[in-house]
C-alpha cells in the first residue's frame, strides 16, 4: 500500500502524546524541587524522597495496598482465566448472555456505584448472617477481585480466540486427557495473557480510591485513600516524589515484561515453524 504520511497527522500525534505525557513529566521534574511550593523552581533537592520514606502513614498504607493488590491479582487471574475460557471455548452454554453481561458490566459501571453496592452487600450480609464480621483488607480484596476478573477475562478471551486450535487438537488426538492438554498446551500459549492480566489487576487494585473508600474499615487504609486525604489538605511535593517512584516502578515492570514476552513469543513461533517443517 502506498503510504502517505500526512504531516498534519504526525503533528497531531505528537501533540496528543505531549498532552498524555506532559503532566507526568512535570510531576517528576517538580518532585526534585527544593521549594515547598509545587510550582516554583528554587533548586534541585531529593529531600521530598527522604520525607516520604519517613512518613509512617504512607509507608504502612503502601504495604496494605501491596498486599491487597497481590492477593487480588492472584484470585482475579484464576477466576478471570476460567471466565475467559468459558467465553472463548464453551460456545452457547446456558446463561451465556447473562454471563457476558456480568463480565462486561464491571468494565464500565461507575466505580462509585460498585463501591456503594459492595459496601451495602457487606453490611447487610454482616447483619443477617454475621459474615463478614467487619470491614478491612478482606472486603477490599473481594471488591477489587470482582472488577479485576472482568479485565482478565477479556484479555484471556481475546488471546484464546487468536490462538491456533490445531495444537490443542493435535495433543488430544495423541491421547492427552483434557486436563493435561490444558496444562501442557493451552496454558503455556495463553501465559502472556495471564501475565498481562495479573499486572493489570495489580495496578487497577493499587490505583483504586473510590471502591476501597467504601469497603475498607478502620486500620485498612490503602495508599490512594491516604494520598487523597493528604491532597484535600493541600498539594505537597512529597506526593510528587511518590508519583515519581510509582511511575518508575511501573515503567520498568511494563518494559521488562514486554521485552521478555516478545522474546518468548518469537522463540515459540520459531519452534512451531521448525516443528511444522520437520514434521511436514
Amino acid at each position: 500500500m502506498r503510504r502517505r504520511r500526512s504531516p498534519w497527522l504526525v503533528t497531531w500525534l505528537a501533540f496528543g502524546f505531549a498532552f498524555l505525557y506532559g503532566p507526568i513529566v512535570l510531576l517528576i521534574v517538580y518532585s526534585f524541587n527544593e521549594s515547598d511550593l509545587v510550582t516554583v523552581w528554587t533548586g534541585f533537592s531529593t529531600k521530598w524522597y527522604a520525607r516520604l520514606l519517613e512518613d509512617e502513614q504512607i509507608l504502612s498504607a503502601a504495604y496494605t495496598s501491596l498486599r491487597v493488590a497481590v492477593t487480588t491479582a492472584c484470585i482475579a487471574v484464576v477466576l478471570g482465566t476460567l471466565a475467559g475460557m468459558a467465553l472463548a471455548r464453551y460456545g452457547r452454554f446456558k446463561g451465556r448472555t447473562l454471563f457476558t453481561a456480568l463480565i462486561t458490566g464491571p468494565l464500565v459501571m461507575p466505580d462509585i456505584v460498585i463501591g456503594l453496592s459492595m459496601l451495602l452487600l457487606f453490611v447487610s450480609a454482616g447483619h443477617a448472617i454475621g459474615i463478614p464480621e467487619g470491614r478491612g483488607m478482606d472486603t477490599i480484596v473481594i471488591a477489587h477481585t470482582t472488577f479485576c476478573l472482568s479485565y482478565v477475562a477479556v484479555v484471556v478471551q481475546s488471546r484464546l480466540s487468536s490462538m491456533d486450535r490445531s495444537v490443542e487438537e493435535a495433543a488430544q488426538d495423541l491421547g492427552a486427557p483434557p486436563g493435561k492438554v490444558f496444562f501442557t498446551v493451552t496454558l503455556p500459549i495463553i501465559a502472556p495473557a495471564l501475565i498481562a492480566g495479573w499486572l493489570l489487576s495489580f495496578t487497577l487494585s493499587l490505583d483504586d480510591l473510590v471502591i476501597a473508600s467504601f469497603v475498607s474499615g478502620p486500620g485498612a487504609s490503602t495508599l490512594p485513600i491516604v494520598v487523597f486525604s493528604k491532597l484535600r489538605l493541600g498539594v505537597s511535593p512529597m506526593i510528587n516524589a511518590l508519583a515519581t517512584i510509582i511511575v518508575a516502578i511501573v515503567t520498568v515492570a511494563v518494559v521488562i515484561t514486554g521485552i521478555v514476552m516478545t522474546r518468548q513469543e518469537r522463540r515459540r513461533d520459531a519452534e512451531v515453524q521448525r516443528a511444522l517443517r520437520g514434521g511436514g
Binding site: 502506498r2 504520511r5 517538580y30 460456545g91 456480568l102 456503594l116
Partner: protein, 316 residues
Amino acid sequence: MSTRAPAVPARPAWVMARLRRLVPTGRGLAIAAPYAWLVLFFLVPFVVVLKISLSQMVIAQPPYTSLFVWEDGLLPAVRPYFGNYGWLFQDPLYWIAYLSSVKIALLSTLGCLLIGYPMAYAIARARPTARALLLLLVVLPFWTSFLLRVYAWIGILKNKGLLNAALLATGIIDQPLNILHSNAAVYIGIVYSYLPFMILPLYATLEKLNPELLEAATDLGARPWKAFVTVTLPLSLPGILAGSLLVFIPAVGEFVIPALLGGPETLMIGHVLWDEFFSNRDWPVAATVAIVLIVVLVAPIVLFQRQQLRASEAMT
C-alpha cells in the same frame, strides 16, 4: 416385573448419562466458579442497593429501616418506603446534578473522540514496527496512578500554576486564568484520563480496515477527504461506538476528577452520592441516587453489552 429379568440388569445408557451429568465436569466448574462469584458480588449487591433505597434512614446499626416486617403471618410484610425517590424528584439539586453529569460526560466524550481519532488513525497507518511502540505509549499512562495523574493537573492549572506562568511569560494574557476549580478543569481532567480508552478501540477497528477499499475509492477519483468520509469513517463506527461508551459511562459517575479539579459550580452526581454517603451518612438516599444513576446509564450500558457480545461472538 418379569421373573425372567436378569439378576443384575445392565444399567441403561441414559442412567449413566444422567449420573455423569451429576458429577461436576471440568467445563462445568470452569463456568460455575466465576459465574457464582459475579452473581454474588456484582448482581446481588444491586438488589441490596434497591432494597435499601426503599428504606428509611435511622440512627442505628445498620443505619436504615428493614424493608420486611414480621407480623403475625408466616410471611413477612413488605413495607417499601418511596420517600427517597420523592425527595430526589422534588429537590432540583439532584436533577441538575444528573443533567450536568450527562452534559459534562457527553462533551468530554466528544473531546476524546476529536483528539483520539486522528491519533488512532495515525498509529494504524504507521510502520508495523513503530505501531507496537506507539500503542505502548498510549497504554503506559493507564498503568500509572490515575489519582496522581489527576493531581498533576492541579499544579498546571492553578492560578500561580505552570500554564498561567507560561502564558503570562509569553504575553498571551496579562491576568492569570482561573481554570482550576472550574468546569473547564473537569473537562480537561476527564479528556486527559479517558483518552487511552478512546484510542484503543478506535485503533482496533482502524487497523483491521482493508486499505484496498481506500485505494479503490481514490482510484475511482474520490478526493482523500471524501474517501475518508464515505469509506473510513463508516467502517470505523464500531470503534467509535465502543470508545465513546467506554468514556461516557464511567465519566457520568466520575468522582475523583470533580472532587480534585472541580469548583463550586461543578455539580456531578458521583460527588453528590459521595457526600450523601460520607458527609450526610444517609445511606438510603445514597442508594436511591445510585439506583437512579443506573437507570440513567441503563441504555448506554445495554448498548455497550450488545456490542461486546457481538464482538465476542465474532471472535469465537
